[in-house]
Amino acid sequence: MLSIENLRVVYHEVISVLNGISLKVIDGEVLVIIGANGAGKTTLLRSISGMIKMFDGDILDGDIKMDGQSIKGLDSTDIMQRYRITYVMEDRPIFQYLTIEENLRVAAYSRWDSRVKEDMEEIYGYFPVLRTLRQKKAGYTSGGEQQMLAIGMSLMTKPRMLLLDEPSLGLAPLITEELFRIIGKLNQAGITIILVEQNAVAALGIATRGYVVENGRVVLEGTAQALLENKDVREFYLGSGEKERKSYKDAKRYKRRKRWL
């Protein structure tokens, strides 16, 4: 189990992004984190994966524990190799000048076992289109294929936990649907998934639980079903609130509540 306790993170020593966020991730679940732009979702994933320093960020306070052991301040390579937590960055984290096959091979860099080829075949099984394109440079493939490659690359690291940052960004609805189906399949294969998504409907559709994050704090948590049914969440994140427009006073009250929670 992964637990985050009162985490405070700043960028460039002054820009405070996470302001004491706390949450828990249970093994084997799909946890969705939703929130507006700038709420701190990506920063949270960067902090868990040990990538925060790479972006000139610092963890000021709080702790991140994996199975009771603190992983705060560890290097991203240590976190990946020792705890098998893989972070799939937003905006298709692939290497454009490498071929699809080279991308998959380089993702297995931290492994020294001899099963790399077999795992590559398994990924081609999940994403058959990658097999046909394997000698093509990744930069010349479509957005959907690149996202599939990104997830395939993360699987090459043999993760126990996947941190997916907006995997549906810029993808057509049909491809997004296929992508979420595969994410669900990966979870069934035993991989715990933390999913940060703007497309909250699709994400909550495959999730076990979810957190709503605003201003670097958790303002709401619950099962995916409970969040889907929550009036405020429907209004502000799912875009499917009541037909009548809310008054300015109501919206302001909700925003104030978000700030104080």
Binding site: K53, M54, D75, S76, T77, Y87, L98, R105, V106, S110
Partner: protein
Amino acid sequence: MVDLIQTLGSGILVGLVYALLGLCVVIIFKASEAFNFAIGEFLMIGSFLFYAIFFNGTLPWHRVLPLGILVFLFIALVLWLDRRIRWLVTAVLGLAGGAIVFALLFFGLKLPTFLPSPMIRFLVALPLALAAAGFVGVMVERLTIKPLLGRSPISMTIVTLGLGFFLRACVQLIWGSGSYSFFLHLPDITLEAGDFLFLSDPIWAGILSLISFALIILFLFRTRWGLAIRAVSEDQAKAMAFGIDARFILMIIWAISSICITVAGIMISNFGALSATSGIVGLRAMPVVLIGGMDSIGGALVGGIIIGLCEALAGTYIEPLGLIGFKDVAPYLVMLIVLFIRPYGLFGTVRIERV
């Protein structure tokens, strides 16, 4: 006609050495987007290390002692800051490093006594010098470049400028400002056919540079580390997200770069002498990479050959007209013309930015 072919041949041979120098700049630029302005100083240090091993170039104790102390401080600082090893271990390892360097330069390896044959001595001294040069590259990267990972490439470039001044001062302090005779006496492979004559030393320089170039290409495109280097070159953050230790990869890149600069330095020094000002040749890498493209490996080869040809043609056809010294200006002139037409060089990646 004979003159022209002779000039072109010589230009290509020297151009291959420049291409190797250019490659050393390109691989560092690809990995960190920083330009290594200390290339000339690395060239000097590598060449002096080879000189010390191959010619048994010993020095008096008052010159070697500062170097021993410097090596001790470098090793101790790197181990202490980078690995957080206990101070006693750092001190012992640092002392060992300093003592080895002191012994090497004060007593010498006495290779000329044990191995009188220049070729065998060359084959023994070259790997030793390259290993030492690689070690220098690693030390410098750990102390000056690694702490800047994730920061702006400009800061790394500025650090290499300062590093250049520091290393040059160190070389002058230790080896002084005099010239050292540097003839390797490698087997004579002078090519003489009809009116054509290609001297042995430039041919050796061309062959060794080409071999080094090919080995780097093989390393980059056929090995696991090479693949990781190419990934880090594209995006350090993405590479780290997939468990590639970008810091370690950067260290390897600096070591390889330092090794190749040393090969080029040895070949260039073999044309004449070695001194604390030999590093100026390293600046030839600048027109090479700007013509070929800052991030293009193939471009470094083409750029190197263009600069070599340019120098040779200017030396044969323009300098006799009275423009003495034009040979040194011509490469920069060609560079300016190419940059006017193609600002990213002949094979450089054009960056498209949305505005």
